[in-house]
């Protein structure tokens, strides 16, 4: 298991800029087609299983969070990520979606495969298929991050992130099948059943 280093300001150099809320008017950069990561392919889809990811976001009073921007980032069906210095790959698991009046989001994408933990040196260590989620909204001075896992994946048992989550809260990260190819995970910002939010 990798050991995160203690928090400390860098001894020298620059300090990362402060985050600020996306506010209520971020929809000026909402492009609804971005919610479908397969949009560039038409009917010649790359190999992989096309899936729908849905859920609802609610606040500490149980009210729908209707003005959020949700982003997803995940590996391709082979479990691969793009080279940080390389070009845009033909398929990449990045999407953006605005929540609706009922707080719901909906993505169409290709199901990610098991992905490497941190590079070639430990290529035998695989993460369970998962999707990184980021939530931006009015009232969130910095975006909130979490992960979506898929119920029933054998690798969930050994996933190095999922297994650091207390068992009683693990369910907040595991999407369940709610229809053919459809996986649902609700997100709770605060209170009972609060999603396990992650400092990445």
């Amino acid at each position: 298991m990798p050991t995160p280093t203690p928090e400390a300001a860098p001894a020298q150099g620059l300090v990362a800029s402060a985050h600020q809320t996306a506010g209520p008017y971020w929809h000026l950069v909402d492009f609804p087609e971005w919610a479908d990561t397969t949009r560039h392919f038409g009917d010649r889809l790359p190999p992989g299983e096309r899936i729908v990811l849905t859920g609802r976001i609610t606040d500490g009073a149980g009210a729908a969070v209707a003005d959020a921007m949700v982003e997803i980032w995940h590996a391709d069906p082979m479990g691969e990520y793009p080279d940080p210095n390389g070009p845009e790959k033909e398929f990449q698991g990045y999407g953006r979606c605005a929540t609706q009046a009922d707080g719901s989001f909906r993505f169409v994408t290709l199901k990610p495969g098991p992905s490497p933990l941190d590079g070639e040196a430990r290529a035998n260590l695989r993460q369970a298929p998962h999707v990184a989620l980021a939530v931006f909204a009015r009232g969130l001075l910095t975006h909130l991050c979490t992960r979506l896992y898929f119920e029933g994946e054998p690798l969930n048992e050994t996933d190095p992130v999922l297994n650091t989550v207390p068992p009683e809260r693990r369910g907040t990260l595991i999407a369940r099948p709610t229809g053919p190819g459809t996986w649902t995970l609700d997100l709770r910002l605060q209170g009972e059943g609060e999603t396990v939010w992650m400092e990445i």
Binding site: M1, P2, A8, L14, W73, G139, T142, T164, W197, E199
Partner: protein, 237 residues
Amino acid sequence: MSNIIPGYRRPDRLSQPPYDSAGYGSTRLRHPQQPPLRLPHTRTETSAPRFSPQRYAPRTDLTVQADGSAAMGERIIVGGRVLDEDARPVRNAMVEIWQANAAGRYNHPGDDHDAPLDPNFQGMGRVFTDQDGCYRFVTIRPGAYPWRNHKNAWRPNHIHYSVFGDGFAQRMITQMYFPGDPLLALDPIFHAIPDEAARNRLVATFDLELTRPEWALGYRFDLVLRGREATPMEDHH
């Protein structure tokens, strides 16, 4: 030899706003109450989407429509660099911007501020950094606008920024402010950042070099994304 890709340095606490900020009312029901799970960085966090200008068309001049019609207001040039904490340029980074018009009104159905819309100003832009991490766009100086956070609350002039780095852990949305704005001293979103120096780094500086004679004032705004850990995280088994 290790092929482990290093993670990113942890944020400096005082230079980042908290989730729960009493002065900013919308945080009250939206901040988590449980401490966040600190995640070791995996390939999921050290990789990020790549964006090509072919698929994500740049829009570098927000002041002119396709038919040549000009937006109302004070034209300005905004430019700067996107660097990481080791002062390395972040290259080919996609930077999205959005803002109110000169009258302080967003071209957004949710904005009911009694100020005129400008049919020639949408308030959305997209630029890419070059090999030195530099970006530049032309826009209209946004107006201040009221909000309902507290009595007689007004947001200072600002431009919203969305930036993608080389890792999803570097993802950042922030706001650029203008020097000398009297509303900055009163703004709970700006003041949610505890450290004064960190706040002031979100204030652009007037820049005569960027200013184009007889055309527009220039403002410089640099952004810093998280830097990499000096050494890769090791497995101590």
